[in-house]
Symmetry: C2
Protein backbone atom coordinates (compact mmCIF):
# COMPACT_ATOMS: atom_id res chain seq x y z
CA UNK A 1 0.00 0.00 0.00
CA UNK A 2 1.14 3.46 -0.83
CA UNK A 3 1.86 5.10 2.50
CA UNK A 4 1.49 8.60 1.16
CA UNK A 5 -1.79 10.45 0.80
CA UNK A 6 -1.84 11.24 -2.92
CA UNK A 7 -3.97 14.09 -4.15
CA UNK A 8 -6.27 13.43 -7.10
CA UNK A 9 -5.25 15.06 -10.33
CA UNK A 10 -8.38 16.82 -11.55
CA UNK A 11 -8.83 19.56 -9.02
CA UNK A 12 -6.75 22.62 -8.41
CA UNK A 13 -8.10 25.46 -6.38
CA UNK A 14 -8.78 24.68 -2.83
CA UNK A 15 -11.72 26.30 -1.16
CA UNK A 16 -12.31 22.98 0.57
CA UNK A 17 -10.51 19.70 0.87
CA UNK A 18 -12.53 16.55 0.35
CA UNK A 19 -11.68 12.98 1.32
CA UNK A 20 -13.20 9.82 -0.15
CA UNK A 21 -12.25 7.00 2.22
CA UNK A 22 -13.18 3.34 1.98
CA UNK A 23 -12.16 -0.11 3.13
CA UNK A 24 -12.84 -1.19 -0.48
CA UNK A 25 -12.02 0.38 -3.84
CA UNK A 26 -13.53 3.78 -2.90
CA UNK A 27 -15.10 3.96 -6.35
CA UNK A 28 -18.61 4.37 -4.95
CA UNK A 29 -17.53 6.95 -2.36
CA UNK A 30 -15.73 8.90 -5.06
CA UNK A 31 -18.57 8.81 -7.59
CA UNK A 32 -21.31 9.64 -5.11
CA UNK A 33 -19.19 12.29 -3.42
CA UNK A 34 -18.62 13.99 -6.77
CA UNK A 35 -22.37 13.89 -7.49
CA UNK A 36 -23.03 15.59 -4.16
CA UNK A 37 -20.29 18.20 -4.52
CA UNK A 38 -21.25 19.04 -8.11
CA UNK A 39 -24.35 20.71 -6.65
CA UNK A 40 -22.28 23.33 -4.87
CA UNK A 41 -20.43 26.25 -6.45
CA UNK A 42 -17.30 25.20 -4.66
CA UNK A 43 -13.73 24.50 -5.72
CA UNK A 44 -12.13 21.55 -4.03
CA UNK A 45 -9.01 19.49 -3.69
CA UNK A 46 -9.76 15.82 -3.28
CA UNK A 47 -8.03 12.77 -1.88
CA UNK A 48 -9.24 9.24 -2.60
CA UNK A 49 -8.10 6.63 -0.11
CA UNK A 50 -9.07 3.01 -0.82
CA UNK A 51 -8.38 -0.13 1.23
CA UNK A 52 -8.28 1.65 4.57
CA UNK A 53 -8.52 -1.45 6.75
CA UNK A 54 -6.00 -0.82 9.54
CA UNK A 55 -5.98 1.56 12.46
CA UNK A 56 -2.47 2.65 11.51
CA UNK A 57 -3.60 3.78 8.06
CA UNK A 58 -6.65 5.49 9.52
CA UNK A 59 -4.38 7.39 11.92
CA UNK A 60 -2.24 8.67 9.04
CA UNK A 61 -5.35 9.91 7.29
CA UNK A 62 -6.79 11.45 10.44
CA UNK A 63 -3.56 13.37 10.88
CA UNK A 64 -3.73 14.67 7.34
CA UNK A 65 -7.34 15.79 7.86
CA UNK A 66 -6.47 17.47 11.15
CA UNK A 67 -3.48 19.25 9.64
CA UNK A 68 -5.53 20.65 6.79
CA UNK A 69 -8.14 21.85 9.26
CA UNK A 70 -5.51 23.59 11.38
CA UNK A 71 -3.96 25.24 8.36
CA UNK A 72 -7.17 26.37 6.64
CA UNK A 73 -9.64 26.62 9.52
CA UNK A 74 -12.11 24.85 7.22
CA UNK A 75 -13.24 21.35 8.06
CA UNK A 76 -12.41 18.94 5.24
CA UNK A 77 -15.49 17.12 3.92
CA UNK A 78 -15.17 13.37 4.40
CA UNK A 79 -17.26 10.78 2.54
CA UNK A 80 -16.46 7.37 3.93
CA UNK A 81 -17.53 3.76 3.98
CA UNK A 82 -15.76 1.59 6.52
CA UNK A 83 -17.14 -1.43 8.36
CA UNK A 84 -14.53 -2.04 11.08
CA UNK A 85 -15.74 -0.07 14.14
CA UNK A 86 -12.24 0.69 15.41
CA UNK A 87 -11.00 1.96 12.04
CA UNK A 88 -14.18 3.95 11.46
CA UNK A 89 -13.92 5.54 14.90
CA UNK A 90 -10.51 7.02 14.12
CA UNK A 91 -11.84 8.69 10.97
CA UNK A 92 -15.00 10.04 12.61
CA UNK A 93 -12.91 11.48 15.46
CA UNK A 94 -10.93 13.57 12.99
CA UNK A 95 -11.77 17.23 12.54
CA UNK A 96 -13.39 16.48 9.18
CA UNK A 97 -17.10 16.77 8.47
CA UNK A 98 -17.77 13.03 8.10
CA UNK A 99 -20.63 11.30 6.32
CA UNK A 100 -21.01 7.54 6.02
CA UNK A 101 -22.30 7.16 2.48
CA UNK A 102 -23.76 3.68 2.83
CA UNK A 103 -25.00 3.66 6.44
CA UNK A 104 -26.91 6.90 5.89
CA UNK A 105 -29.21 4.87 3.65
CA UNK A 106 -29.00 1.62 5.61
CA UNK A 107 -30.63 2.92 8.79
CA UNK A 108 -33.98 3.88 7.21
CA UNK A 109 -34.08 0.59 5.27
CA UNK A 110 -33.52 -1.30 8.51
CA UNK A 111 -36.70 0.28 9.89
CA UNK A 112 -38.65 -0.47 6.75
CA UNK A 113 -37.69 -4.12 6.29
CA UNK A 114 -37.52 -4.95 10.00
CA UNK A 115 -34.20 -6.75 9.69
CA UNK A 116 -30.85 -6.18 11.35
CA UNK A 117 -28.14 -5.27 8.85
CA UNK A 118 -25.17 -7.63 8.75
CA UNK A 119 -22.29 -5.33 7.91
CA UNK A 120 -19.71 -6.97 5.70
CA UNK A 121 -16.34 -5.69 4.61
CA UNK A 122 -17.23 -3.20 1.92
CA UNK A 123 -16.98 -5.23 -1.24
CA UNK A 124 -19.41 -3.47 -3.52
CA UNK A 125 -17.30 -4.57 -6.43
CA UNK A 126 -16.07 -7.72 -4.76
CA UNK A 127 -15.78 -11.25 -5.95
CA UNK A 128 -17.41 -14.10 -4.07
CA UNK A 129 -18.24 -17.74 -4.63
CA UNK A 130 -21.83 -16.70 -5.24
CA UNK A 131 -21.01 -14.43 -8.12
CA UNK A 132 -18.05 -16.15 -9.71
CA UNK A 133 -20.05 -17.55 -12.63
CA UNK A 134 -21.54 -14.17 -13.25
CA UNK A 135 -18.06 -12.71 -13.06
CA UNK A 136 -16.82 -15.16 -15.66
CA UNK A 137 -19.70 -14.02 -17.87
CA UNK A 138 -18.40 -10.48 -17.52
CA UNK A 139 -14.89 -11.47 -18.59
CA UNK A 140 -16.38 -13.45 -21.48
CA UNK A 141 -18.30 -10.34 -22.55
CA UNK A 142 -15.10 -8.26 -22.55
CA UNK A 143 -13.39 -10.93 -24.59
CA UNK A 144 -16.22 -11.18 -27.07
CA UNK A 145 -16.30 -7.42 -27.43
CA UNK A 146 -12.56 -7.17 -28.07
CA UNK A 147 -12.78 -9.93 -30.67
CA UNK A 148 -15.64 -8.10 -32.40
CA UNK A 149 -14.26 -4.57 -32.17
CA UNK A 150 -14.12 -2.49 -35.32
CA UNK A 151 -15.53 -5.24 -37.53
CA UNK A 152 -12.47 -7.44 -36.83
CA UNK A 153 -14.67 -10.52 -36.91
CA UNK A 154 -18.14 -10.84 -38.40
CA UNK A 155 -18.43 -14.40 -37.15
CA UNK A 156 -20.64 -15.33 -34.20
CA UNK A 157 -22.70 -12.15 -34.54
CA UNK A 158 -25.64 -14.28 -33.44
CA UNK A 159 -24.02 -14.14 -30.00
CA UNK A 160 -23.91 -10.34 -29.93
CA UNK A 161 -26.54 -8.67 -27.76
CA UNK A 162 -26.06 -5.43 -29.64
CA UNK A 163 -24.04 -4.33 -32.69
CA UNK A 164 -23.00 -0.68 -32.74
CA UNK A 165 -22.52 0.83 -36.19
CA UNK A 166 -21.23 4.21 -37.34
CA UNK A 167 -18.36 6.09 -38.95
CA UNK A 168 -14.79 5.99 -37.69
CA UNK A 169 -14.29 7.84 -34.36
CA UNK A 170 -17.90 8.34 -33.33
CA UNK A 171 -17.54 6.39 -30.05
CA UNK A 172 -18.19 2.76 -30.99
CA UNK A 173 -15.16 1.17 -29.34
CA UNK A 174 -15.31 2.89 -25.92
CA UNK A 175 -19.07 2.31 -25.77
CA UNK A 176 -18.76 -1.38 -26.66
CA UNK A 177 -16.09 -1.88 -24.03
CA UNK A 178 -18.10 -0.04 -21.40
CA UNK A 179 -21.19 -2.14 -22.15
CA UNK A 180 -19.12 -5.29 -21.67
CA UNK A 181 -17.20 -4.11 -18.61
CA UNK A 182 -19.98 -2.43 -16.63
CA UNK A 183 -23.00 -4.45 -17.71
CA UNK A 184 -21.64 -7.76 -19.03
CA UNK A 185 -23.16 -7.17 -22.45
CA UNK A 186 -21.65 -8.80 -25.53
CA UNK A 187 -21.33 -5.81 -27.83
CA UNK A 188 -19.91 -6.01 -31.35
CA UNK A 189 -19.21 -2.96 -33.45
CA UNK A 190 -18.81 -2.29 -37.14
CA UNK A 191 -17.30 0.79 -38.82
CA UNK A 192 -18.36 2.41 -42.09
CA UNK A 193 -15.33 3.75 -43.94
CA UNK A 194 -14.90 6.44 -46.58
CA UNK A 195 -14.86 3.73 -49.23
CA UNK A 196 -18.35 2.60 -48.25
CA UNK A 197 -19.85 6.03 -48.87
CA UNK A 198 -20.45 5.95 -52.62
CA UNK A 199 -23.32 3.58 -52.34
CA UNK A 200 -23.88 3.07 -48.64
CA UNK A 201 -25.77 -0.09 -47.80
CA UNK A 202 -25.95 -2.41 -44.84
CA UNK A 203 -23.26 -5.06 -45.31
CA UNK A 204 -24.70 -8.51 -46.02
CA UNK A 205 -23.16 -9.87 -42.81
CA UNK A 206 -25.24 -7.45 -40.73
CA UNK A 207 -28.56 -7.86 -42.50
CA UNK A 208 -29.76 -10.89 -40.51
CA UNK A 209 -29.22 -8.87 -37.34
CA UNK A 210 -31.05 -5.62 -38.08
CA UNK A 211 -32.91 -5.95 -34.77
CA UNK A 212 -29.59 -5.85 -32.91
CA UNK A 213 -28.18 -2.81 -34.70
CA UNK A 214 -27.78 0.50 -32.94
CA UNK A 215 -26.37 3.52 -34.78
CA UNK A 216 -24.03 6.13 -33.35
CA UNK A 217 -23.68 9.51 -34.96
CA UNK A 218 -21.90 12.74 -33.98
CA UNK A 219 -21.72 16.35 -35.12
CA UNK A 220 -19.41 16.77 -38.14
CA UNK A 221 -17.52 19.55 -36.34
CA UNK A 222 -16.72 17.43 -33.30
CA UNK A 223 -15.86 14.47 -35.54
CA UNK A 224 -13.44 16.59 -37.57
CA UNK A 225 -11.76 17.80 -34.38
CA UNK A 226 -11.36 14.25 -33.08
CA UNK A 227 -10.02 12.99 -36.40
CA UNK A 228 -7.66 15.95 -36.70
CA UNK A 229 -5.96 14.76 -33.50
CA UNK A 230 -5.38 11.47 -35.17
CA UNK A 231 -4.42 12.45 -38.72
CA UNK A 232 -3.64 16.11 -39.09
CA UNK A 233 -4.65 17.87 -42.31
CA UNK A 234 -5.96 14.67 -43.88
CA UNK A 235 -8.98 14.23 -46.10
CA UNK A 236 -10.18 11.84 -43.38
CA UNK A 237 -10.27 14.72 -40.89
CA UNK A 238 -11.67 17.38 -43.21
CA UNK A 239 -14.99 18.89 -42.24
CA UNK A 240 -16.27 18.25 -45.75
CA UNK A 241 -15.52 14.51 -45.52
CA UNK A 242 -17.01 14.29 -42.03
CA UNK A 243 -20.20 15.99 -43.25
CA UNK A 244 -20.56 13.58 -46.16
CA UNK A 245 -20.04 10.51 -44.02
CA UNK A 246 -22.43 11.63 -41.28
CA UNK A 247 -25.15 12.55 -43.79
CA UNK A 248 -24.84 9.19 -45.55
CA UNK A 249 -24.83 7.16 -42.38
CA UNK A 250 -27.79 8.98 -40.84
CA UNK A 251 -29.75 8.40 -44.06
CA UNK A 252 -28.90 4.72 -43.85
CA UNK A 253 -30.11 4.56 -40.23
CA UNK A 254 -33.41 6.18 -41.17
CA UNK A 255 -33.99 4.04 -44.26
CA UNK A 256 -33.43 0.86 -42.30
CA UNK A 257 -35.33 2.08 -39.24
CA UNK A 258 -32.27 1.63 -37.05
CA UNK A 259 -32.34 3.33 -33.66
CA UNK A 260 -29.53 5.84 -33.38
CA UNK A 261 -28.08 8.41 -31.05
CA UNK A 262 -26.05 11.56 -31.55
CA UNK A 263 -23.12 11.10 -29.16
CA UNK A 264 -21.68 14.62 -29.41
CA UNK A 265 -22.67 15.71 -25.91
CA UNK A 266 -22.74 12.40 -24.14
CA UNK A 267 -20.22 10.47 -22.10
CA UNK A 268 -19.52 6.77 -22.57
CA UNK A 269 -21.67 6.04 -19.51
CA UNK A 270 -24.60 7.96 -20.93
CA UNK A 271 -24.35 6.46 -24.41
CA UNK A 272 -24.16 2.97 -22.91
CA UNK A 273 -27.16 3.50 -20.64
CA UNK A 274 -29.16 4.86 -23.56
CA UNK A 275 -28.26 1.89 -25.76
CA UNK A 276 -29.42 -0.49 -23.03
CA UNK A 277 -32.61 1.47 -22.48
CA UNK A 278 -33.50 1.74 -26.16
CA UNK A 279 -32.71 -1.87 -27.00
CA UNK A 280 -34.40 -3.25 -23.89
CA UNK A 281 -31.23 -5.05 -22.79
CA UNK A 282 -30.84 -6.26 -19.25
CA UNK A 283 -28.32 -4.65 -16.93
CA UNK A 284 -26.19 -6.85 -14.77
CA UNK A 285 -24.52 -5.41 -11.70
CA UNK A 286 -21.01 -6.53 -10.79
CA UNK B 1 -36.82 5.18 -24.67
CA UNK B 2 -37.98 1.71 -23.83
CA UNK B 3 -41.52 2.12 -22.56
CA UNK B 4 -41.51 -1.12 -20.64
CA UNK B 5 -40.15 -1.55 -17.15
CA UNK B 6 -37.53 -4.25 -17.65
CA UNK B 7 -36.43 -6.33 -14.69
CA UNK B 8 -32.70 -6.73 -14.10
CA UNK B 9 -31.30 -10.13 -14.85
CA UNK B 10 -29.33 -11.09 -11.76
CA UNK B 11 -32.04 -11.51 -9.17
CA UNK B 12 -34.73 -14.11 -8.90
CA UNK B 13 -36.55 -14.61 -5.65
CA UNK B 14 -38.65 -11.73 -4.59
CA UNK B 15 -38.95 -10.98 -0.92
CA UNK B 16 -38.82 -7.33 -1.91
CA UNK B 17 -38.86 -5.34 -5.08
CA UNK B 18 -36.28 -2.60 -5.47
CA UNK B 19 -36.22 0.32 -7.90
CA UNK B 20 -33.19 2.34 -8.93
CA UNK B 21 -34.53 5.46 -10.64
CA UNK B 22 -32.57 8.37 -12.07
CA UNK B 23 -32.80 11.23 -14.54
CA UNK B 24 -29.27 10.20 -15.60
CA UNK B 25 -27.62 6.84 -16.24
CA UNK B 26 -28.77 5.36 -12.88
CA UNK B 27 -25.32 3.81 -12.50
CA UNK B 28 -24.70 5.52 -9.16
CA UNK B 29 -28.18 4.71 -7.82
CA UNK B 30 -27.73 1.09 -8.83
CA UNK B 31 -24.23 0.71 -7.38
CA UNK B 32 -25.00 2.45 -4.11
CA UNK B 33 -28.36 0.71 -3.78
CA UNK B 34 -26.65 -2.66 -4.15
CA UNK B 35 -24.08 -1.69 -1.51
CA UNK B 36 -26.89 -0.82 0.89
CA UNK B 37 -28.96 -3.92 0.16
CA UNK B 38 -25.99 -6.27 0.41
CA UNK B 39 -26.04 -5.59 4.16
CA UNK B 40 -29.44 -7.23 4.55
CA UNK B 41 -30.22 -10.96 4.37
CA UNK B 42 -32.91 -10.22 1.82
CA UNK B 43 -33.74 -11.57 -1.62
CA UNK B 44 -34.84 -8.94 -4.10
CA UNK B 45 -36.03 -8.30 -7.61
CA UNK B 46 -34.67 -5.09 -9.01
CA UNK B 47 -35.61 -2.62 -11.72
CA UNK B 48 -33.17 0.00 -13.00
CA UNK B 49 -34.80 2.97 -14.70
CA UNK B 50 -32.45 5.58 -16.22
CA UNK B 51 -33.31 8.86 -17.99
CA UNK B 52 -36.58 9.40 -16.14
CA UNK B 53 -37.04 13.03 -17.13
CA UNK B 54 -40.76 13.29 -17.96
CA UNK B 55 -43.88 13.17 -15.85
CA UNK B 56 -45.37 10.58 -18.20
CA UNK B 57 -42.48 8.19 -17.63
CA UNK B 58 -42.60 8.81 -13.88
CA UNK B 59 -46.33 7.98 -13.90
CA UNK B 60 -45.67 4.63 -15.60
CA UNK B 61 -43.09 3.80 -12.97
CA UNK B 62 -45.32 4.96 -10.11
CA UNK B 63 -48.04 2.65 -11.39
CA UNK B 64 -45.66 -0.28 -11.49
CA UNK B 65 -44.55 0.45 -7.91
CA UNK B 66 -48.15 0.77 -6.74
CA UNK B 67 -49.18 -2.46 -8.44
CA UNK B 68 -46.37 -4.40 -6.82
CA UNK B 69 -47.34 -2.98 -3.44
CA UNK B 70 -50.96 -3.96 -3.90
CA UNK B 71 -50.02 -7.48 -4.98
CA UNK B 72 -47.39 -8.16 -2.31
CA UNK B 73 -48.39 -5.84 0.54
CA UNK B 74 -44.71 -4.98 0.81
CA UNK B 75 -43.55 -1.51 -0.10
CA UNK B 76 -40.96 -1.61 -2.88
CA UNK B 77 -37.67 0.05 -1.89
CA UNK B 78 -36.90 3.01 -4.14
CA UNK B 79 -33.45 4.59 -4.50
CA UNK B 80 -33.74 7.64 -6.70
CA UNK B 81 -31.95 10.72 -7.92
CA UNK B 82 -34.10 13.17 -9.85
CA UNK B 83 -33.73 16.94 -10.00
CA UNK B 84 -37.02 18.04 -11.65
CA UNK B 85 -39.43 18.74 -8.75
CA UNK B 86 -42.55 17.69 -10.70
CA UNK B 87 -41.02 14.38 -11.84
CA UNK B 88 -39.59 13.70 -8.40
CA UNK B 89 -42.95 14.38 -6.75
CA UNK B 90 -44.66 11.64 -8.77
CA UNK B 91 -42.09 9.07 -7.64
CA UNK B 92 -42.17 10.11 -3.98
CA UNK B 93 -45.98 9.94 -3.99
CA UNK B 94 -45.86 6.29 -5.00
CA UNK B 95 -46.35 3.61 -2.38
CA UNK B 96 -42.63 2.81 -2.46
CA UNK B 97 -40.22 3.49 0.38
CA UNK B 98 -38.28 6.27 -1.34
CA UNK B 99 -34.77 7.53 -0.57
CA UNK B 100 -33.02 10.28 -2.51
CA UNK B 101 -29.46 9.00 -2.69
CA UNK B 102 -27.75 12.29 -3.47
CA UNK B 103 -29.87 14.80 -1.53
CA UNK B 104 -29.57 12.75 1.64
CA UNK B 105 -25.92 13.75 1.65
CA UNK B 106 -26.41 17.22 0.15
CA UNK B 107 -28.46 18.63 3.03
CA UNK B 108 -25.81 18.18 5.73
CA UNK B 109 -23.11 19.56 3.40
CA UNK B 110 -25.26 22.60 2.77
CA UNK B 111 -25.19 23.33 6.49
CA UNK B 112 -21.47 22.78 6.73
CA UNK B 113 -20.36 24.90 3.77
CA UNK B 114 -23.05 27.55 4.17
CA UNK B 115 -23.91 27.57 0.47
CA UNK B 116 -27.18 26.94 -1.34
CA UNK B 117 -26.99 23.87 -3.58
CA UNK B 118 -27.64 24.52 -7.26
CA UNK B 119 -29.34 21.35 -8.41
CA UNK B 120 -28.41 20.37 -11.93
CA UNK B 121 -29.78 17.63 -14.10
CA UNK B 122 -28.10 14.55 -12.73
CA UNK B 123 -25.06 14.18 -14.92
CA UNK B 124 -22.65 12.41 -12.64
CA UNK B 125 -21.12 10.83 -15.68
CA UNK B 126 -21.96 13.71 -17.98
CA UNK B 127 -19.94 15.54 -20.55
CA UNK B 128 -19.55 19.29 -20.45
CA UNK B 129 -17.41 21.94 -22.05
CA UNK B 130 -15.42 22.08 -18.83
CA UNK B 131 -14.40 18.48 -18.93
CA UNK B 132 -14.13 17.79 -22.64
CA UNK B 133 -10.32 17.84 -22.66
CA UNK B 134 -10.24 15.51 -19.76
CA UNK B 135 -12.72 13.32 -21.58
CA UNK B 136 -10.50 13.23 -24.63
CA UNK B 137 -7.68 12.12 -22.35
CA UNK B 138 -9.87 9.24 -21.24
CA UNK B 139 -10.56 8.14 -24.80
CA UNK B 140 -6.84 8.48 -25.57
CA UNK B 141 -6.08 6.22 -22.60
CA UNK B 142 -8.50 3.57 -23.88
CA UNK B 143 -6.91 3.78 -27.30
CA UNK B 144 -3.39 3.53 -25.91
CA UNK B 145 -4.39 0.56 -23.80
CA UNK B 146 -5.97 -1.29 -26.72
CA UNK B 147 -2.88 -0.67 -28.84
CA UNK B 148 -0.66 -2.03 -26.06
CA UNK B 149 -2.79 -4.98 -25.02
CA UNK B 150 -1.16 -8.38 -24.78
CA UNK B 151 2.25 -7.12 -25.87
CA UNK B 152 0.87 -6.17 -29.31
CA UNK B 153 3.16 -3.18 -29.40
CA UNK B 154 6.25 -2.58 -27.32
CA UNK B 155 6.69 0.88 -28.80
CA UNK B 156 5.90 4.03 -26.83
CA UNK B 157 6.16 2.21 -23.52
CA UNK B 158 7.61 5.44 -22.18
CA UNK B 159 4.05 6.77 -22.40
CA UNK B 160 2.61 3.95 -20.28
CA UNK B 161 1.74 4.87 -16.70
CA UNK B 162 1.82 1.23 -15.73
CA UNK B 163 2.71 -2.04 -17.48
CA UNK B 164 0.94 -5.15 -16.20
CA UNK B 165 2.81 -8.41 -16.64
CA UNK B 166 1.83 -12.02 -16.01
CA UNK B 167 0.91 -15.34 -17.57
CA UNK B 168 -1.93 -15.78 -20.06
CA UNK B 169 -5.41 -15.42 -18.48
CA UNK B 170 -4.46 -13.94 -15.13
CA UNK B 171 -6.52 -10.76 -15.64
CA UNK B 172 -4.18 -8.37 -17.46
CA UNK B 173 -6.51 -7.29 -20.27
CA UNK B 174 -9.68 -6.55 -18.24
CA UNK B 175 -7.60 -4.73 -15.62
CA UNK B 176 -5.78 -2.61 -18.22
CA UNK B 177 -9.06 -1.65 -19.86
CA UNK B 178 -10.66 -0.80 -16.54
CA UNK B 179 -7.71 1.38 -15.55
CA UNK B 180 -8.10 3.28 -18.83
CA UNK B 181 -11.89 3.49 -18.81
CA UNK B 182 -12.53 4.34 -15.17
CA UNK B 183 -9.39 6.27 -14.29
CA UNK B 184 -7.94 7.50 -17.60
CA UNK B 185 -4.69 5.63 -17.01
CA UNK B 186 -2.54 4.56 -19.96
CA UNK B 187 -1.97 0.90 -19.11
CA UNK B 188 0.06 -1.47 -21.27
CA UNK B 189 0.26 -5.19 -20.62
CA UNK B 190 2.67 -7.94 -21.55
CA UNK B 191 2.11 -11.69 -21.40
CA UNK B 192 4.62 -14.41 -20.55
CA UNK B 193 3.98 -17.53 -22.61
CA UNK B 194 4.86 -21.19 -22.12
CA UNK B 195 7.85 -20.72 -24.42
CA UNK B 196 9.32 -18.10 -22.12
CA UNK B 197 9.41 -20.47 -19.17
CA UNK B 198 12.64 -22.37 -19.74
CA UNK B 199 14.78 -19.43 -18.82
CA UNK B 200 12.39 -16.74 -17.70
CA UNK B 201 13.83 -13.26 -17.81
CA UNK B 202 12.46 -9.78 -18.20
CA UNK B 203 12.30 -9.02 -21.92
CA UNK B 204 14.82 -6.38 -22.98
CA UNK B 205 12.00 -4.06 -24.08
CA UNK B 206 10.65 -3.93 -20.53
CA UNK B 207 13.92 -3.50 -18.67
CA UNK B 208 14.07 0.32 -18.97
CA UNK B 209 10.63 0.45 -17.36
CA UNK B 210 11.07 -1.74 -14.29
CA UNK B 211 9.60 1.04 -12.12
CA UNK B 212 6.36 0.89 -14.13
CA UNK B 213 5.93 -2.88 -13.95
CA UNK B 214 3.20 -4.46 -11.88
CA UNK B 215 2.83 -8.24 -11.75
CA UNK B 216 -0.42 -10.17 -11.65
CA UNK B 217 -0.54 -13.73 -10.42
CA UNK B 218 -3.36 -16.18 -9.68
CA UNK B 219 -3.85 -19.57 -8.06
CA UNK B 220 -2.87 -22.41 -10.43
CA UNK B 221 -6.24 -24.12 -9.81
CA UNK B 222 -8.27 -21.07 -10.83
CA UNK B 223 -5.97 -20.45 -13.79
CA UNK B 224 -6.42 -24.05 -14.99
CA UNK B 225 -10.21 -23.71 -14.72
CA UNK B 226 -10.18 -20.47 -16.74
CA UNK B 227 -7.88 -21.91 -19.38
CA UNK B 228 -9.92 -25.12 -19.58
CA UNK B 229 -12.89 -23.01 -20.71
CA UNK B 230 -10.75 -21.72 -23.51
CA UNK B 231 -8.87 -24.83 -24.64
CA UNK B 232 -10.27 -28.03 -23.23
CA UNK B 233 -7.84 -30.82 -22.29
CA UNK B 234 -4.85 -28.87 -23.56
CA UNK B 235 -1.38 -28.77 -22.08
CA UNK B 236 -1.99 -25.01 -21.81
CA UNK B 237 -4.89 -25.68 -19.41
CA UNK B 238 -3.28 -28.49 -17.43
CA UNK B 239 -2.79 -27.90 -13.72
CA UNK B 240 0.82 -28.98 -14.07
CA UNK B 241 1.54 -26.35 -16.72
CA UNK B 242 -0.28 -23.65 -14.74
CA UNK B 243 1.76 -24.50 -11.63
CA UNK B 244 5.04 -24.26 -13.53
CA UNK B 245 4.17 -20.92 -15.12
CA UNK B 246 2.95 -19.35 -11.89
CA UNK B 247 6.00 -20.53 -9.94
CA UNK B 248 8.36 -19.15 -12.58
CA UNK B 249 6.62 -15.84 -12.90
CA UNK B 250 6.37 -15.27 -9.14
CA UNK B 251 10.09 -16.01 -8.85
CA UNK B 252 10.77 -13.45 -11.56
CA UNK B 253 8.66 -10.84 -9.73
CA UNK B 254 10.57 -11.41 -6.51
CA UNK B 255 14.02 -11.42 -8.12
CA UNK B 256 13.32 -8.13 -9.86
CA UNK B 257 11.54 -6.61 -6.86
CA UNK B 258 8.39 -6.07 -8.89
CA UNK B 259 5.21 -5.37 -6.93
CA UNK B 260 2.62 -8.05 -7.58
CA UNK B 261 -0.87 -9.11 -6.59
CA UNK B 262 -2.63 -12.46 -6.50
CA UNK B 263 -5.88 -11.77 -8.38
CA UNK B 264 -7.67 -15.03 -7.51
CA UNK B 265 -10.23 -13.50 -5.19
CA UNK B 266 -10.41 -9.99 -6.57
CA UNK B 267 -12.65 -8.27 -9.07
CA UNK B 268 -11.37 -6.04 -11.85
CA UNK B 269 -12.33 -2.99 -9.77
CA UNK B 270 -10.38 -4.21 -6.78
CA UNK B 271 -7.30 -5.18 -8.78
CA UNK B 272 -7.33 -1.80 -10.54
CA UNK B 273 -7.69 0.16 -7.31
CA UNK B 274 -4.84 -1.83 -5.76
CA UNK B 275 -2.58 -1.20 -8.76
CA UNK B 276 -3.25 2.54 -8.49
CA UNK B 277 -2.68 2.53 -4.75
CA UNK B 278 0.54 0.52 -4.90
CA UNK B 279 2.04 2.42 -7.83
CA UNK B 280 1.00 5.82 -6.46
CA UNK B 281 -0.90 6.68 -9.64
CA UNK B 282 -3.44 9.47 -9.69
CA UNK B 283 -7.12 8.70 -10.07
CA UNK B 284 -9.16 10.85 -12.39
CA UNK B 285 -12.93 10.95 -12.04
CA UNK B 286 -15.11 11.08 -15.15
Amino acid sequence: MNSQIPRNSNEHTTERSVFFISDGTAITAETLGHAVLSQFPLAFTSYTLPFVTTEARAQEIKQKIDTIYQETQKRPLVFYSIISPSVKKIITESSGFCQDIVQTLVAPIQQEVGLEPEPKLNRTHGLSLQNINQYDARIAAIEYTLAHDDGISLRNLDQAQVILIGVSRCGKTPTSLYLAMQFGIQAANYPFTADDMDNLKLPAALRPYTHKLFGLTISPERLAAIREERRENSRYASLRQCRIEIAEVEALFRQNKINYLNTTNYSVEEISAKVIDTMGLQRRVF
